[in-house]
């Protein structure tokens, strides 16, 4: 039996230097609950260190939390890497630590980079600037995410900075990504013009840095359960499973 899941696949936390201090695990989960979100992907810049607390908290609250990161490739293309297994996340973190270009963070200038527990106690601090890039190319990043069984999706493809479009001019039609993420600003006209939806299935994420923004861009997934494996099948459209950008469906409905 297929069920409908509402997913926000791009969420920052207090750990991202640009993330609001209000983006604590408890606040994020309560906000998600309020907005009837079934699946959240925690995607801080180049770090997975806030994922574990959120995954555990989500489980108690009946919300599936996938861990991952919004990685920054050598070309400075932001990409979502999603996992649902803790072991994969831990191995991915080692890879991030190895390849992040090491520039010390200045919290006064860029913002704090701390991860916290359920009571907002600081568990640790990322010393190096997380918005720097990895010393790995787009292709190498795709390889690593796939090697660990993750889902790879270039982020906010419609944005004029740090997107596949802005950095590499256009989306390579043979890109080995599993999906392409569109921002809340993407319009049906834009998508039609560039043909992104012809290259890979489109997914949506809010890219929320503040609690109010959570859920502003929802991916509706028809699948059997909320595992990442099912999501991969949905991206391939297997046996009636499907993935849709909720806002675009509504927009195109308005247009007709």
């Amino acid at each position: 039996m297929l069920k409908e899941f509402r997913a926000d696949l791009h969420v920052h936390t207090v750990l991202s230097p640009c993330g609001s201090l209000e983006m604590s695990p408890v606040r994020i989960i309560s906000e998600a609950k309020k907005k009837h979100i079934d699946i959240l992907a925690v995607t801080d810049h180049n770090s997975t260190r806030q994922c574990r607390v959120l995954m555990e908290l989500g489980q108690e609250a009946g919300i599936t939390v996938w861990g991952g990161a919004e990685i920054n490739t050598r070309e400075e293309v932001h990409c979502l890497a999603l996992f649902d297994r803790m072991e994969a996340l831990e191995e991915f973190q080692l890879w991030l630590d190895r390849w992040l270009v090491k520039i010390e963070n200045n919290p006064d200038f860029f913002g704090d980079q701390v991860w916290v527990d359920v009571e907002d106690n600081i568990l640790g601090e990322e010393k190096y600037l997380l918005i720097a890039s990895l010393d790995r190319s787009l292709e190498q990043c795709i390889d690593e995410v796939h090697r660990l069984g993750g889902v790879f999706a270039p982020a906010h493809v419609d944005r004029s900075s740090n997107s596949l479009s802005s950095q590499l001019g256009f989306v390579p039609p043979d890109i080995r990504a599993d999906a392409i993420e569109v921002s809340p600003n993407a319009t049906p006209e834009m998508i039609k013009k560039h043909g992104w939806d012809k290259i890979k299935p489109l997914i949506a994420g809010s890219d929320a840095h503040q609690p109010e923004r959570l859920g502003v861009n929802i991916t509706t997934v028809m699948m059997k359960n909320s595992s990442l494996n099912e999501f991969k099948k949905a991206l391939k459209g297997m046996d009636g499973r499907s993935v849709m950008v909720e806002r675009l469906q509504r927009n195109s409905g308005d247009l007709t």
Binding site: E75, S137, L138, E139, S165, S166, Q167, L168, G169, F170, P172
Partner: protein, 112 residues
């Protein structure tokens, strides 16, 4: 001036696209944002960049640039090189940083 003259004068590596070494060079462009190159590079420019993705060759061919120079000792990705050979657009390399390479290129091209 043709690409080969610049290769000799600046002691550049030739990674591929050798077929195009006699292409005419009429100017230069320096940028790492491919969307910017698409908008602003001119036909016949020699283009210096640090990007090594195969989209570089798609843009190079679209704009009909004379050649691409990779800076700082960078090497083209395998599929970028394959594309360069197919298109016959030379992919060159220099150990210099962009600033220094651009200065030398400018002096060379403007002497003509």
């Amino acid at each position: 001036m043709v690409v080969e003259d610049i290769v000799k004068a600046l002691k550049l590596n030739v990674f591929g696209g050798n077929e195009g070494l006699l292409r005419e060079v009429t100017g230069g462009y320096v940028s790492d944002l491919l969307s910017d190159v698409m908008g602003n590079a001119l036909e016949g420019d020699i283009w210096a960049t640090l990007q090594t993705h195969k989209n570089v060759m798609a843009v190079a061919s679209l704009k009909d640039v004379a050649a691409v120079i990779l800076v700082k000792g960078l090497k083209p990705d395998e599929d970028m090189l394959a594309q360069a050979n197919e298109e016959g657009i030379p992919v060159l390399g220099s150990d210099l940083e962009t600033f220094e390479l651009a200065g030398r290129l400018y002096a060379l091209i403007n002497k003509e």
